[in-house]
């Protein structure tokens, strides 16, 4: 009886190694160029943040005026880093879970280059003063068809892999990823066509734009990050998911609630009255799917505390889920019509919420995925435990500062705005100290991500450690800061350790 089992384990390992090998360049391409855009975005974010409290900084250059640097920062973060990190995770996870090798490497890499070209031209377009003035859609209008076509070319293979997979159980990660794959083009085409090609009423245009931002967060970035975490938590701990029915409930409640969210940004603007209310209600209700997923995955991780302490992937994934819990609480607290919505609607807290979602939740989850996937596709282990630790702590401290300062500072700013007996200029004083703190925190995050980018680049160049022991965060032997010394991987990709 044991003979066929061990043979199938062997075959399994060979299949997994084949999948990993087929995806080495697409996955590393998207992660590395994503990390480069992340560093660019944070750099632009620092410039923008300095300008909020010191408006004279670099002010003679039209390319670096606040009104252009800030949109360039956000768009580079969303499309340059966020989308590309998501592509890497989707490509790898869909291939692994469908048990199919990637056969479209050439077209994926070509489309990936087109995608990066689109982002680069878009960012240059914004900085040179050709932005569209629609938040998160500031790229000049030539960019969106280019990005859409490359999107289809990048993910088509993942969808085909799922169709032709060997019949079997569909895991909850696949639901999240498939749904994100379907929702993104729907959201992106709707918003871009209605705003660029068939402009309707200008105020409804602003409403569609607000919905677009919310939908991109909750119907693309959220499902991708949750799909990844639902994979990592049981995989790394070796324990089953805490509750599978809670996972199903979390998925379907997100699918039903999230598409209604977003238009609370237009409270009081002349759009049909039900839109802001339904948007506020849906955003607050996102608390339910967010908590379902965060608690479910955190309980799964908590079943193996020693792995949690040692594994970089799990530590980042857990931090991402903690970010999701904070995001869920913020979604409720910031969007209560009649009490807090009026305070937060036009303040720093809008940015704080977006950054909390994009960095504190999505990006930390993607880092978790990166630390898991990269050693498998490059067949090398991470070079330095210290670099991972620096990356983790600076990222987490930085994001806590950015998000909480922006959320709390935003509420303070809102209180100042609502106090109509006070002259307007006084309101600025409420926001200033928070702006200074934000600059400092972005500097921490930039520092951590420059090291991350270099680490990743070295891994792609296959300069990682040739060892069969993964780089863990705690050392049992002491001494070597780069993790345990181990056997050199001479057995080649088919070897059983490559799980």
């Amino acid at each position: 009886m044991s003979q066929p089992t061990s043979q199938s384990t062997e075959q399994d390992a060979i299949l997994r190694a084949g999948i990993d090998r087929s995806l080495r360049h697409p996955v590393m391409f998207f992660l590395t160029s994503g990390a480069a855009w992340l560093a660019v975005s944070i750099f632009l974010g620092i410039i923008a943040s300095v300008k909020v409290h010191s408006p004279g900084f670099l002010s003679s250059l039209s390319w670096l005026t606040y009104g252009r640097v800030f949109p360039a920062h956000v768009n580079a973060l969303v499309y340059g880093w966020g989308m590309q990190a998501a592509f890497a995770a989707i490509l790898w996870l869909m291939a692994r879970l469908s048990r199919k090798e990637c056969t479209m490497v050439g077209s994926i890499l070509t489309a990936g280059h087109v995608w990066n070209l689109g982002i680069a031209l878009g960012v240059i377009g914004i900085l040179s003063g050709n932005g569209t003035g629609m938040p998160w859609m500031e790229f000049p209008s030539f960019a969106w068809p280019l990005l859409l076509i490359s999107y289809f070319a990048i993910v088509a293979g993942s969808f085909i892999q799922f169709r032709i997979r060997p019949v079997g159980h569909v895991y909850v990660s696949q639901w999240y990823l498939l749904a994100a794959l379907l929702w993104f083009p729907w959201i992106y085409v709707t918003s871009n066509v209605l705003l660029h090609c068939l402009p309707g009423h200008p105020v409804m245009g602003a409403g569609i734009n607000a919905w677009f931002r919310s939908a991109l967060l909750f119907l693309f970035f959220t499902p991708v990050a949750l799909g990844v975490t639902y994979y990592l938590a049981p995989k790394v701990t070796g324990r089953p998911v805490f509750s599978y029915s809670l996972a199903k409930f979390g998925f379907w409640s997100l699918a039903v609630i999230a598409p209604w969210a977003g238009m609370q940004k237009l409270a009081g603007a002349p759009v049909p009255y039900f839109l802001p209310y339904i948007g506020a209600a849906a955003t607050a209700l996102i608390f339910i799917p967010a908590c379902a997923a965060a608690i479910n995955t955190l309980r799964t991780m908590a079943s193996a505390p020693e792995t949690m302490a040692a594994s970089p992937s799990l530590r980042f994934a857990a931090a991402g889920m903690a970010g999701l819990l904070v995001l869920a609480a913020a979604a409720v607290l910031l969007n209560l019509p009649g009490s807090t919505l009026r305070l937060t609607q036009f303040t720093l807290s809008g940015y704080g919420f977006d950054i909390l979602a994009l960095y504190g939740f999505f990006t930390l989850s993607m880092f978790g995925a990166t630390y898991f996937i990269v050693p498998r596709v490059t067949l090398r282990e991470w070079i330095s435990r210290r670099l991972i630790k620096v990356h983790f702590y600076l990222s987490v401290y930085g994001i806590i500062t950015v998000a909480l300062v922006a959320l709390f500072g935003g509420t303070q700013q809102g209180l100042g705005q609502e106090n109509w007996q006070q002259p307007w200029l006084g309101v600025l004083d409420y926001a200033r100290p928070y702006a200074v703190a934000t600059t400092f925190a972005w500097c921490l995050i930039l520092f951590s991500n420059i090291f991350f980018f270099i680490h990743l680049l070295l891994m792609w160049m296959r300069l990682g450690r040739r060892s069969s022991h993964p780089t863990l965060l705690v050392s049992h032997h002491g001494g070597n800061p780069h993790g345990e010394d181990g056997d050199i991987d001479n057995a080649g990709p088919g070897h059983a350790h490559a799980h």
Partner: protein, 233 residues
């Protein structure tokens, strides 16, 4: 669950919301009907007039990210205290019309393709900037020149010393003075024999900003402060 059922489920949960919050409101608002000023026979159509370079000024506004710090919406009191501020929704003491303050309505964005509702209020709301400039003009200041100086460097004006609005020197051109010089030249020292004059983009933007007068009397059907109108007439 089969792939087919899954896709139908995911598409339905998304599609219902998509129709209800995007498609139907989009079609209804695209087809906004003209409104009569009152129910009385012979009442005029509500048609707020707007003069200035709205279309190309709005483009400059968008390209330079003004919407990141300035809003263009005066919310009704259930959504915020904007209307209480003396000069945001109109003027609390206009010379001829008295209190003209009102909330923004969908007809206020005439000539624009995208309403710059805005995302943050680091600066004040601009819905009625043109009306505030009227007040300055009545006090003897040229509003265009005031706005040019304001765009060049907000902190040149001692009243705004703590403003964090970015300076926009790139909207101005340094050139040799010819004859008496340009009437729009900034009152700053540009060097011996030189002057700073607004580029076309600055002119378009200022013209757009001056067109911001969104306090025309609203039609009876959506005038939420009718008592105010009674006391006027």
């Amino acid at each position: 669950m089969s792939l087919r059922t899954f896709i139908i489920g995911v598409a339905a949960s998304f599609g219902v919301a998509w129709l209800a919050v995007i498609v139907v409101p989009y079609l209804k608002m695209r087809d906004l009907q003209p409104v009569l000023m009152s129910a009385e026979p012979g009442a005029a159509l509500f048609h707020p007039k707007r003069t200035g370079r709205v279309a190309d000024g709005a483009e400059i506004y968008a390209e330079n990210g003004c919407y990141l710090c300035h809003t263009q919406v005066v919310r009704p009191v259930y959504a915020g205290n904007d209307l209480y501020r003396p000069d945001w929704g109109g003027l609390d003491a206009d010379e001829s019309r008295g209190d003209t303050r009102r909330e923004t309505n969908p007809y206020d964005f005439e000539g624009e393709t995208f309403a710059q509702i805005g995302v943050n209020r680091i600066g004040p709301d601009l819905s009625n900037l043109g009306r505030r400039m009227d007040v300055l003009q009545a006090a003897g200041t040229d509003p265009e020149r005031w706005l040019f100086a304001r765009l060049y460097n907000p902190r040149l004006n001692p009243d705004l010393y703590s403003s964090t609005c970015p300076p926009h020197p790139f909207l101005f051109e340094k050139r040799r003075v010819h004859g008496a010089g340009s009437p729009d030249a900034l009152a700053v020292d540009a060097g011996e024999g030189y002057e700073l004059v607004p580029r076309p983009a600055a002119r378009a933007l200022v013209s757009y900003l001056l067109s911001m007068k969104k306090d025309h009397p609203a039609p009876a059907s959506f005038d939420f402060a009718p008592a105010k109108n009674d006391s006027e007439s």
